[in-house]
Amino acid sequence: MAEQIIEGVSPTRMDLLDIRKKLILAKKGHKLLEEKRDALVERFFDIIDKKNQLSKDIGEEFKEAFLSLIQAQMILGESKVEESSFLTESIGEILFEEDNIMGVKIPNINTQNLKTEIKPSYGFFETCSKLDDAQVSFYNILMKLIQLADLEAGIKSLAVEIEKTKRRVNVLENVLIPKLVATRKYIEMQLEEREREDFLRRKRIKAILESKK
């Protein structure tokens, strides 16, 4: 790529000083953004590790839970299980809070209002223990799923922020800083050229004046 200079600059000492200031600022910003990006990515990997572990756990627990559910369905019949399922009390509601990681807002789920344990509310007269098993394991899965939701929301906002930061770093690194450097060089060369011309002119005038004497 040919080096481009910023449009609209005139090769003067004023502009040179300006460009120098801008270059220092851009370099500082670039360094800061790079640090931010690295910190975010580090944090991101942490969360991804946790999330992978959790979703693996959940997958296995789902298998077990469905097994007990199917067994309950076999013993009691599907319609009976479905009827019983309607009897469970509501688990309650969740609250959202906001966490802040390096200026990125991350939703945080507050589970204070949820019930901490679950009791069967159907009659144990007509049901079997497999249904209890299924209920407990589904409840446990639900708790883990809420954690997973928390992590996934974090991943989403972090991913968006990382992309944004990455783009900014790349723009500074590949476009703005090279442009500024090229412009500085252009101005410096122009100024030097003008000085040389001036020097030559003065010499010439001096020579003419000498010869006239």
Partner: protein, 104 residues
């Protein structure tokens, strides 16, 4: 905020047992029920089975990009996880980091 589930019949029974009362079961048109869920603003977390997520495809993806809540989590159904299904979060990770991150 409430927790809701969009899933098939069997999964619905399980989640009802665990105490979730906002259970949506699509009968016929999945899009219709999806629009109904979109209109509600009291849902904080939505669990959705991978099969339905796959069927909704683009609608779901667009919604997730533009909205922060509800948080949508994909769950396996009775037969386990779909084999060649790539969930949204993995796609996002791949886009942000540039490589797929997997720890074995």
């Amino acid at each position: 905020m409430k927790i809701a589930v969009l899933c098939d019949n069997d999964t619905a029974v399980g989640f009802r047992l665990a105490g979730i009362q906002d259970v949506f079961i699509p009968d016929g048109s999945k899009k219709e029920i999806w629009n109904k869920i979109c209109e509600r603003d009291d849902i904080g977390i939505l669990f959705i089975t991978e099969k339905i997520a796959e069927a909704l495809g683009k609608y779901l993806k667009d919604y997730r990009v533009s909205h922060d809540t509800p948080i949508i989590v994909e769950i396996p159904n009775k037969k386990g996880r779909l084999k060649d299904h790539v969930d949204f979060i993995s796609q996002l990770i791949k886009k942000a980091v540039g490589v797929e991150v997997e720890k074995r």
